[in-house]
Amino acid sequence: MDGPFDAAFAAFDPKQNYDAIVVGSGAAGGTAAYVLTSLGLRVLVLEAGERKNVDEELRSTQWPYEHLRRGAAPYNEHALNRNEYDLQRPPYAASFAEPRVTSYLGGSDYRTRLLVNERDNPYTGTPFAWVRARLLGGKTNIWGRLALRLSDLDFKAASRDGYGQDWPLSYKDIAPYYDRVDRFLGVAGYAELLPHMPDGQFQTTPRLTKAELHLRATLARLGRVVTPYRAGVTTDGLAHNKYRSRCLRRGACHRKGGCDIHAAFDSTTGYLFPALETGKLTIRCNATAYEVTVDPHTGKARGVAFVDSQTKKTYEARGQTVVLAASTLESTRLLLLSRSRQHPNGIGNSSGHVGHNFCEHLMGPKIVGVMRSQAGAPRTRDDGRPGGFYIPRFQNVDSKHHGFLRGYGFEGDSGSAMLPRSMSWAKGFGKAYKKDVRDYAGAFVSMGGFGEVLPQFENGVSLDPALKDKWGIPVLRFRVKFGDNERAMAKDMEAQARTMLEAAGIEVHESSSSLLPAGWSIHELGTARMGNDPRTSVLNPFCQSHDVKNLFVMDGAGFVSAGSQNPTWTIMALAWRSSERLAEELRKGNL
């Protein structure tokens, strides 16, 4: 597409030696591109996908009846569902006749073209719901917006319970960078002054519905927290960014993921456009990276080899430093693909830990309740906000739970929305059904859990020895399995969800502890973890390869453990910190 900064999208020069090559343009790549260019570096971003007119895809204000299929994706596509992930093994597209098969996030006409075609991008191994969006801005185009900080409860988890390893950094090391991200992108939330859920530099907070305020008061007596969704959304506007509007509280934010006024953060308008304004940034779209090339004399990274996704011509981009930010598992795939005489097991992999210690958030446990006292209440504009509510971790915080390690949080929502939640709940048919749907439309409270999946050395990915993707690049083979800790945690999540709603007098309509397939949370983390010991970790605390000084991996791959909080804000704070370090080390001549 055409748009601002067209020249910078056509300026890639294979003869140039860039200060930094950033692979990926999502949350991590966007952060790196912005911070590095603002510090004066000449940066090349390689993006595997196209530059799409995302606003035309999202059509955030379109009414369902203005769409021929009421928002559904075209009939000749198939979006994978839960059963298909559970019962079949990847590559999933092989079982379907449709020319286009997407991850479970497809099925919506507003999202489907932002996702990869599984047919072109297969993988093998154990069942895994791998959601990928190859386009400028990456998965931030469909981001769920919850913007949370980790705390030392997470960074020093191993010291507390003896499992795994601590992070090689503390909250105080990263707090200033969370602040920078907050101020630059805007985050809305309510300061609760809780040590294990640190507050940010908050803009005007969204509010809670009546039912949520009642739940907040009830759970506070149990020492638990119901707080408004901490959203990576600018509710007051950003004077320094003309590409993003403030949140208009307009509602209909239920088509979560995507905001065509860009009040919700996305990398393109949040980071890349401001970075392009520096004049230091070149972006090459349709550039599928397949190898970090190596200087045969020094063993250092020399650049990145890529194939044009459309013409299939190959190129090598040269840079003084290389930043991988291709998403957790794609960055790991690139490390493994980059074999050379100096790095026979893949670049940065002398420890043998690349592809190991995968972690994420389990999903599945959920609850739906009905607050009878809300029946027939006057309609309110409850969905005029970026998200519902959040219940942060409460297990294994002040006291030890004997059934499992670590903890989980809940994301929830309640009140009126465009589609009445009561329509599949109300019994019978006819006038009574219609009245029940109307009366109870705003009376529902629902929430789903996100639980910390423990990193295990065995869990992770390797290269498949045979299968290649559309561009001839070896694909990933998964070996990811949940363990006893995850299963015990899931049971507790359902039990505690029931306890909490019942304590508030909210009638439980349905609940479940059944686990969704691995990967469902789209919070893939680990597989190139950071640490102080090069024998047991891949990166140092600045996301810098222990083996190759001018190579950095700035996405979720460096996570040591997952915490229970949604990771995007932490990924960006770490990338900001690491980018400042990269620029400083480059200036000093240390790279």
Binding site: Y75, R249, R250, G384, S416, F429, K435
Partner: protein, 203 residues
């Protein structure tokens, strides 16, 4: 139940959406031309009689009341007709869903004829309600009737509550507009302060 109540599908809005989405409108029609039944002038999934039957069934599921129009006014039957037409003939779940509708519609007329000696669309509204009640209460041992009723109800609800009538007239939905501030009341003191007080007061 006059033939007047079969309205042409409201293609104008859909066409706007398709053009906005950059989708070729012609393509969708062409793709289905081969497999669509030739029912008079319009090429839908249902025959005119089936469409009329669905319209009556839908109005029974969500009838007009003193508050708002029902499924007929919301053109739920036409929305379902297009939905079924647009399903994927190569997807076995979709093929089964289409078959369920066709079989269900045959059987509802069979039941109507057995009890009232008339097809469903010729019954008085009260008789339609009575007949449909027997389907609604069918145990799952009668898979066709229970499955068809569940599918009918879910699909009519979807068509109705995504329609302009459902969203605006019935539900009185207030969102998808702008506002100066978030709805709701203030939150009270930060919970961290409350928890500290609770700790201090504990014996």
């Amino acid at each position: 139940m006059s033939s007047k109540s079969i309205r042409p599908l409201r293609r104008d809005l859909g066409a706007v959406a398709l053009v906005a989405a950059g989708l070729p409108l012609v393509r969708i029609r062409k793709l289905h031309a081969a497999e669509a039944p030739t029912a008079g002038a319009r090429a839908g999934f249902f025959s005119p009689h089936q469409l009329l039957t669905v319209e009556h069934l839908a109005e029974q599921i969500i009838p007009q009341d003193e508050h708002s129009p029902g499924a007929r006014e919301a053109e739920a039957a036409q929305t379902i007709d297009l939905y079924l037409l647009d399903l994927n003939p190569r997807n076995s779940d979709h093929v089964k869903r289409r078959a369920l509708w066709k079989r269900g519609l045959v059987h509802i007329d069979k039941d109507a004829n057995a009890r009232f000696a008339k097809p469903f669309v010729k019954l008085k509204a009260d008789d339609q309600y009575a007949l449909l009640s027997t389907w609604a209460d069918t145990p799952t041992t009668d898979p066709l009737r229970s499955a068809f009723f569940a599918e009918l109800k879910a699909r009519v609800a979807w068509a109705y509550y995504t329609s302009a009538v459902g969203i605006h007239q019935d539900m009185g939905y207030l969102g998808n507009t702008y506002s100066s501030d978030f709805e709701g009341e203030a939150l009270g003191p930060p919970l961290g302060i409350l928890f500290k007080q609770m700790k201090d007061e504990a014996p």
